[in-house]
């Protein structure tokens, strides 16, 4: 059960600092005054609001529907009245706004009538996957990919193994650890439901070996179920990244540009498994999540179960408020999390953590030239050459950057972490990937415009031809009776 030989390459061992927040049990935050719900808290298209300002809604009521397959609906986390539908501050480094719904809570927290199935295991996989879609469940490990889309892959690919991701490799975050210790039975049922939907052969619950209590709890909860293995994996960043986890657990490498289904595996976070279980067993939509509030600027770091849309300030106040001078606020972990402009942002579905970091906890800014020591090459978990990619990214040579590996970069930040010259490597790659997206967008628009121009020209030509044909027909019709009269 214990992996003595680590199979993945690269990776780093940052100071985990999990002891700050892992002690206390998950605490429940009371219902806040207002909830701010961005219409896009998932990968894919923005949800479309179904309610109007002034509407009274119940807890769990559908507020916004998915317009397409790759999207997720938004539900009311508590009962109350809709006070605004418009731009709200987005939890995004740009400081821009996002379209959202503001819900003023009445404090009564009344549930809508839920559709509770008698036994979810008796329902067909398609019905269950559709229920997960309707519950708005997305990847709670931070990737926020709509869970139902992944679950529907069971009909298209043979899924041999479902991996439940309990690694939580990012420093500071302990939400999955506490979830596994306190709600192991529900997570195991969620895992079994996922296996049932995907018709997978087995389940592996992968937990990093720095979480012995979680390992014990999950082993106890899964003991009397068949085809579930609880595996301890070496604690390393980024072990929780899907491709790395798959390689460590199964020994199979996801091909470059490929997906995990290519090797017969699907990965779900423990939080997602819990949310799926709540949706399928109790009919509850995704309206709350556990968030780790941590960092050296937080007075009492802890894990809190909060309603989606709660302002970050409320969480910070519940943890005793700020101490010292925070230099940066982040949603998620410190390696791959989102920098947020202030605490006035809402907690969204993908917020695994809320961090208030001091100057000492941030990377140093004094940059010196690259000495080609290649520590970044040793550290890269994808086996790329960051020093080459950075040279091309700096020269804005996107094609060469792509060829030297930018396409496969997962933006984990291991390279920047180890660089002795403090070169902002992962920031160069974020910039380069952004430029690639921009280029793809313009190319797509240009070909669309060409299509439109040609279609319009064809339509006008058709109209001209139809007009001419009608004219000719009219002439022929006018000429005929004359001929008949004559003969």
């Amino acid at each position: 059960m214990f992996n003595l030989v680590r199979r993945i390459q690269g990776g780093v061992h940052p100071d985990a600092r999990k002891d700050l927040s892992v002690g206390p049990e998950i605490a429940y935050l009371p219902v806040p005054e207002r909830l701010y719900l961005p219409l896009r808290q998932h990968a894919g298209a923005e949800a479309l609001p179904l309610v109007k300002v002034g509407d009274l809604v119940l807890k769990g009521q559908l507020l916004a529907a998915s317009p397409s397959e790759v999207s997720a609906p938004i539900h009311a986390p508590s009962s109350g009245r809709i006070v605004e539908i418009g731009p709200i501050l987005a939890p995004h480094p740009s400081g821009l706004n996002v379209n959202g719904i503001v819900l003023e809570c009445d404090g009564e927290d009344r549930w809508i009538e839920l559709d509770v199935p008698a036994d979810p295991f008796s329902l067909s996989p398609q019905v269950l996957a559709e229920r997960v879609a309707q519950a708005g469940v997305v990847g709670l490990g931070g990737a926020i990919f709509p869970a139902a889309v992944k679950l529907k892959q069971g009909t298209r690919h043979e899924i041999k193994t479902v991996i439940i991701n309990g690694s939580e490799c990012e420093p500071y975050l302990t939400t999955d650890d506490r979830l596994m210790r306190e709600r192991a039975a529900e997570i195991v049922e969620g895992a079994r439901l996922i296996q049932h939907i995907l018709r997978a052969y087995s389940i592996v619950i992968a937990i990093e070996d720095n979480k012995p209590e979680a390992l014990e709890a999950m082993k106890a909860a899964s003991a009397h179920h068949g085809a579930i293995e609880v595996m301890a994996i070496p604690a390393l960043y980024p072990m929780g990244s899907a491709k790395q986890l798959i390689f460590e657990v199964t020994g199979r490498e996801v091909p470059a540009g490929g997906r995990s289904t290519d090797v017969g595996v699907l990965v779900h976070n423990v939080g997602t498994a819990y949310a799926i279980q709540q949706a399928l067993r109790y009919g509850k939509p995704l309206i709350s999540r556990v968030v780790t509030v941590s960092g050296s600027c937080v007075k009492n770091p802890a894990n809190l179960e909060v309603l989606i849309g709660t302002p970050a300030q409320t969480l910070m106040d519940a943890c005793g408020g700020l101490i010292g001078k925070p230099a940066q606020f982040m949603l998620g972990g410190p390696m791959m999390g989102t920098v947020v402009p202030s605490l006035q942002i809402p907690v969204i579905k993908g917020a695994t953590g809320l961090l208030a970091l001091s100057e000492d906890e941030l990377p140093r800014k004094d940059v010196s030239p690259c000495i080609r020591c290649s520590r970044c090459v040793d550290a890269c978990p994808m086996g790329l050459t960051p020093l080459e990619m950075a040279v091309h990214a700096r020269a804005d040579d996107l094609d060469s950057a792509g060829e030297s590996g930018l396409r496969d970069c997962i933006l984990c930040g291991c390279c920047s972490y180890v660089c002795p010259a403090h070169i902002p490597l992962v920031q160069y790659f974020q910039y380069a990937k952004g430029k690639q997206d921009e280029r793809r967008g313009t190319e797509r628009k240009n070909s669309y415009i060409k299509q439109q121009t040609e279609a319009r020209a064809a339509r006008l030509a058709e109209e001209e031809a139809a007009k001419a044909a009608a004219k000719a027909a009219k002439k022929a019709a006018a000429a005929k009776p004359k001929k008949e009269v004559e003969s």
Partner: protein, 174 residues
């Protein structure tokens, strides 16, 4: 003697016909083939934002060197980079003018349908007596709608950055 003359005459006719056929079939236009290639890459909306009438003229201008490769805002930086490699010119990584797209002022629109008939990419939706609206995905900012609007209620506006268009800027490092 007659046979010799006839034989040579026949050869002359055959070779002449072959030459004529070759002249038609293998003809190469005087025009630089690069111009056609570049015209294929351009958006084709004939918007005129580059300063010359039409994408064909812009292609000619770029080949002759009278127009820079960054002259086409709808094409964006992606197009500029492609053209730079094709023409073998260096491209300084400066910012290009962001495309300005049309916007109908809903309060002033009378639903006359003139703008959507003028749009070369069908980017305006509307009907007689109904409000007209611009589909930004299809608009190139050519300005034809602005010219025909009797109420003067269409403007070309620069696009505000949104969460979809925001990108990380380049890290400033040594």
């Amino acid at each position: 003697m007659i046979m010799a003359t006839l034989a040579l005459a026949l050869m002359g006719v055959l070779l002449g016909a072959a030459l004529g056929f070759a002249a038609r079939y293998f003809a190469v236009t005087d025009e630089n083939p690069m111009i056609k290639e570049i015209e294929q890459l351009l958006p084709g909306g004939q918007c005129g934002q580059c300063g010359v009438p039409g994408c064909g003229a812009a292609a000619v201008g770029m080949v002759e060197g009278t127009l820079p490769v960054t002259c086409c805002p709808p094409g964006g930086m992606g197009l500029a980079e492609k053209l730079a490699t094709l023409l073998g010119v260096t491209l300084d990584a400066g910012e290009m003018a962001a495309p300005r797209l049309a916007r109908v002022e809903a309060n002033e629109c009378i639903g006359c349908t003139r703008c959507y008939k003028a749009c070369p990419t069908d980017a305006i939706v509307g009907a007689s007596g109904q409000l007209h609206c611009v589909l930004l995905d299809a608009c190139t900012g050519c300005g034809k709608c602005v010219d025909v609007c009797p109420e003067d209620c269409i403007d070309l506006v620069a696009q505000e950055p949104s969460l979809d268009t925001w990108r990380w800027s380049k890290p400033q490092a040594a």
